[in-house]
């Protein structure tokens, strides 16, 4: 089993599979409503100038998240060539 990394550790162009959310309650629900549910493929699109917020492509939409939020999303990195 591959290691989980924080979503913020992925670079633009890299992809991961959402594995775990470390938030609880309504904050967790918000991320789930935005499409960050276990098993979803997420791709880092681009980071704005100071690295915050970052745009992600997930379930057919581009969603921008702040660093504090993306830090709470743990993903399994997809290596190209897998």
């Amino acid at each position: 089993m591959k290691k989980e990394v924080k979503l913020t550790e992925l670079l633009p162009g890299e992809k991961g599979i959402v594995n775990h959310l470390t938030l609880r309650g309504l904050e967790r629900r918000r991320l789930m409503d935005l499409g960050f549910v276990k098993g979803s493929v997420v791709e880092v699109i681009r980071r704005s100038m100071f690295g915050d917020p970052t745009a992600y492509f997930i379930k057919g939409s581009v969603i921008a998240l702040r660093r504090e939020e993306a830090d709470e999303i743990l993903v399994i990195k997809i290596d190209e060539g897998d």
């Binding site: 309504l26 629900r29 409503d33 935005l34 379930k59 057919g60 939409s61």
Partner: protein
């Protein structure tokens, strides 16, 4: 619900959202959906020039309302802000939620993007958890065809328990069927059987307990189960919303009673 839906002071709560219908028989229809799914395109196609825009009362959220006719009946159409959820994570979500919940449209159309159904169905499930008067508008069907996405419309409709109408609003496709479906749902000519979402045993048991505790305080036309679920979420905005709603209803009732008394005393 059916024919009794219109009663119970819903007109007053609609006016709180600045929705003024021409007559008490004019059904109110809300358009909900994720951002960028074609809500405004559907809205424009249905209402044409009979529309105007403004803000939601007390909010800097844009809103459009208009009128469309079908089978000689006039319908008031309200374009809700585009949202991924109704759980009040933002002011837009709060506006959409409060409208569906308290103004209780006679029909709510959820406009979904056929090319990414999975994402869009989240909102559909949230809407059918509040109201059974729902029509799903599967928009951007031309795009779905172009991408060779096939959708089992009948199967989807059976599973959701509400009508599902395919459209390409930009091309004007499917709008007559959409209007017909809205007509049937809004006037109570067709009943739906929305998919009921069951939660874990612990949640269901707690909801039952909460239902018993709060049912006394909620008017029966509001969805008790839904409120209990939100309370369990720890959603404080819903407590604020419900107390405002009840206050408005109360003021309205006392105003009616006192003007009645006034008439009695002058006669």
């Amino acid at each position: 619900m059916g024919l009794t839906h219109q009663s119970c002071g819903s007109k007053a709560s609609r006016e709180k959202f600045h929705v003024f219908t021409d007559s008490s028989e004019q059904p109110v229809v809300a358009l909900a959906g994720n951002p960028n799914t074609g809500k405004s395109t559907v809205f424009n196609a249905l209402t044409g020039l009979k529309q105007h825009t403004g803000n939601w009362p007390g909010k800097t959220v844009l809103r459009a309302e208009g009128v469309f006719l079908h089978r000689g009946r006039s319908f008031k159409l309200i374009d809700l802000p585009g949202t991924y959820s109704l759980l009040a994570h933002s002011v837009e979500e709060q506006v959409a939620r409060d409208f569906i919940c308290f103004a209780r449209p006679d029909a709510t159309v959820v406009v979904v993007d056929s090319t990414c159904l999975e994402r869009n169905l989240n909102l559909v499930l949230q809407v059918i958890e509040i109201t059974d008067r729902v029509v799903v508008c599967l928009n951007l069907m031309d795009e779905a065809r172009r991408k060779n996405i096939e959708i089992d419309i009948k199967g989807l409709s059976n599973e959701l328990g509400v009508p599902v109408i395919p459209t390409s609003a930009l091309m004007g496709e499917g709008l007559d069927l959409l209007k017909e479906s809205i007509y049937r749902i809004a006037l109570g000519l067709q009943y739906t059987k929305p998919l009921k979402i069951n939660y874990d045993d612990v949640v269901e048991k707690t909801v039952e307990k909460l239902n018993k505790k709060i049912s006394f305080y909620l008017p029966e036309y509001l969805n008790l189960r839904w409120f209990s679920l939100r309370l369990l979420d720890g959603d404080m905005t819903i407590i604020e919303a419900i107390s405002q709603h009840l206050k408005a209803e109360f003021n309205n009732t006392t105003r009616r009673v006192s003007s009645y008394k006034y008439r009695e005393s002058v006669n």
